[in-house]
């Protein structure tokens, strides 16, 4: 993602011919700063400060009179009791299975995204021929349908007497209706795949599409089989796209609680974001919710750094 905008080249100096007129250049510099100032101020006040508010609540104290949590804005007086509690529960206590389950579900869903998404993106980029425009349109279509609408669609189909069970019973694959919607982990993983795979396929497609077909021809001229050309040329060249697509899909999956609530709603499939929602919107112990958000952010930060390092390495490998 960062590659898109980070790639904008530095513009040439606005007026080389006026190098002797620094006054004019300075005023220009201030103009550009002024243009960007409202946006910068907006993001500081409504993105950076709110982020700090999570820490202030997580490290706040409990008012002894009202027994209510109070945020602490001064880092010198931060109280780590709530955060330590969350940390202990995540490492050894009741939140440990929740974290492990989240990692497992996201890993499985991401694996399925690769298994389904790579062939699809590859086919559309390379072999679709004159159906290419049609297929691209069909693959982009889910982007324009509301996420919850798409989940709702599956809720219709997965009812005990819905079309999916009708089909499975009719083809004799199962003998009695499958209970899809009450705490079935298979449904949760498949719903995550269904929800996020469009965001996986499109960036991967654009990387595969940019691979020069001449390179493949060269590989085949040099004696590669079709399969060899794929393993030695296409796959390594598509690694940056594969990494970006994985990051774009995995990040929101980690923060997803609504898919899980809709298709399961059972405590046996609870993910970390469900716990965050529970503590922040449901209960009175908001400092625990805020601590969980911090912990999740730290985990995602580690993954992001890993992504940045490996995607840089992948790009170096390409060039």
């Amino acid at each position: 993602m960062s590659g898109d905008a980070g790639g904008s080249p530095e513009p040439a100096p606005a007026s080389r011919r006026n190098a002797g007129a620094p006054a004019r250049r300075d005023r220009g510099g201030r103009l550009w700063g002024l243009l960007a100032a409202p946006g910068a101020l907006w993001l500081v006040l409504l993105f950076a400060v709110p982020f700090y508010a999570i820490a202030a609540v997580a490290f706040g104290y409990t008012d002894p009179v009202f027994n209510a949590p109070v945020p602490e804005w001064d880092p010198r007086y931060w109280d780590v009791t709530a955060f330590t509690e969350i940390l202990t529960r995540s490492v050894t206590g009741d939140l440990r299975p929740v974290f492990l389950r989240t990692l497992l579900y996201v890993a499985l869903a991401l694996g399925l995204c690769v298994a389904i998404g790579y062939p699809v993106a590859y086919y559309v980029a390379r072999h679709a021929g004159r159906r290419r425009a049609l297929l691209l349109g069909l693959i982009l279509a889910p982007w324009w349908v509301n996420y919850l609408t798409r989940m709702l669609a599956w809720l219709n189909l997965l009812q005990d007497d819905g079309y999916v069970n009708d089909l499975l019973l009719f083809t004799r694959i199962v003998d009695e209706p499958v209970r899809w919607l009450s705490g079935n982990p298979v449904t949760v993983v498949l719903a995550l795949v269904y929800g996020y795979i469009p965001f996986f396929i499109v960036p991967l497609f654009s990387t595969l599409d940019r691979i020069d077909p001449l390179l493949l021809e060269a590989a085949r001229d040099l004696g590669c089989s079709g399969r060899g050309a794929f393993w030695h040329v296409t796959l390594p060249l598509s690694r940056p796209g594969l990494l970006t697509a994985s990051a774009i899909t995995a990040l929101p999956m980690f923060g997803d609680y609504y898919t899980n609530t809709l298709v399961s709603g059972s405590p046996t499939t609870t993910m970390i974001a469900n716990q965050i929602e529970f503590y922040l919107l449901g209960g009175t112990r908001k400092e625990l919710g805020a601590s969980l958000v911090l912990l999740l952010s730290a985990l995602l930060m580690v993954l992001m750094v890993y992504y940045l390092i490996s995607s840089r390495r992948a790009e170096e490998g390409v060039t």
């Binding site: 993602m1 905008a5 790639g7 904008s8 080249p9 513009p11 606005a14 011919r17 550009w32 700063g33 002024l34 243009l35 946006g39 910068a40 993001l43 409504l46 993105f47 950076a48 709110p50 508010a53 609540v57 945020p71 804005w73 062939p119 590859y122 086919y123 559309v124 072999h127 297929l135 693959i139 279509a141 324009w144 349908v145 509301n146 996420y147 919850l148 609408t149 798409r150 709702l152 669609a153 599956w154 809720l155 219709n156 189909l157 009812q159 007497d161 079709g226 990040l251 980690f254 923060g255 997803d256 609680y257 609504y258 609530t261 809709l262 974001a273 919710g289 805020a290 958000v293 999740l296």
Partner: protein
């Protein structure tokens, strides 16, 4: 000639069917002549209008639709100019501060919605107490996550335009702002429209941030309504609401495409 990759082709078409058929079935059931969302009972428009539970006659469904459109409209009106100004400034603003601000505009894109939703919820309930939860907070939140889209799109367009036209205008005696107004803004129109459309669509689509910032039934948007109604006694009216949403996105897509085509033709003619 290589042999046709029929395995890849069947995977692709199977994927397309899998990704789109459920939506078509959901649309089909919005026309169901009965309360079931899994058994077809004949065609009817009763869930759109005419019966007490239909979209047109259920005040809570109507309110959700109006709320969604209001929030998305106002978000687009604020985020688009804000994003365009920021992109213009950042594209020409060199030095460390400019780079820091540039990085700041990318961060919301890499922040999961639940993190941003919790952050905004906690800041509005603990620090910015003068902003009431509900529509005002929702609009501020939506602008925050969507302004980055405009910045990214406009900046990449600016990079491809380059500085030549602007310099030419300056050499012909234009002031800096006049050059921006007369040269850059017209060239940027397609990118600005694309950005505005994405802002509108993502605001309509957003569930997490709207839900975290919605304290009661008065600020319920369509996604919140879909989410909460699924869990208690859903009727095909829900499918009808979802169908209207799909229709709205199709219209927006068509409108955007028409505007884009007209402005590109206009620039080319000039």
């Amino acid at each position: 000639m290589r042999r046709r990759p029929w395995v890849l082709a069947s995977v692709t078409w199977a994927y397309v069917v899998w990704s789109l058929v459920p939506i078509l079935v959901a649309i089909q059931f919005s026309f169901n002549d009965g309360r079931s969302r899994s058994t077809w009972q004949g065609f009817s428009l009763q869930w759109y209008f005419g019966s007490s539970g239909s979209v047109a006659d259920d005040p809570s469904l109507r309110l959700a639709l109006v709320n969604s459109l209001t929030v998305a409209g106002l978000t687009t009106l604020i985020a688009t100019p804000l994003g365009v100004a920021t992109a213009l400034g950042l594209a020409r603003w060199r030095g460390r501060t400019g780079r820091v601000v540039g990085g700041l505009t990318l961060l919301p894109l890499a922040t999961p919605e639940i993190v941003m939703g919790s952050a905004l919820y906690l800041v509005f309930t603990n620090l910015y107490l003068f902003v009431p939860l509900g529509q005002p907070a929702q609009i501020l939140g939506h602008v925050t996550f969507s302004v980055s889209y405009v910045v990214v799109i406009v900046r990449s367009r600016l990079a491809s335009i380059g500085t030549d036209y602007e310099e030419a205008a300056r050499d012909l005696g234009c002031g800096r702002l006049t050059a921006v107004r007369l040269i850059l803004l017209p060239l940027l129109t397609p990118a600005v429209f694309a950005g505005a459309m994405i802002v509108f669509a993502s605001s309509m689509d957003d569930f997490v941030i709207s839900a975290f910032l919605s304290p009661d039934a008065s600020s319920v948007t369509v996604p919140i309504k879909l989410y909460s109604a699924v869990r208690n006694a859903p009727t095909p009216a829900l499918n009808a609401l979802a169908t209207l949403l799909v229709l709205a996105s199709l219209l927006a897509l068509l409108l955007g495409w028409l505007v884009q085509r007209r402005t590109t033709l206009f620039i080319m003619k000039k």
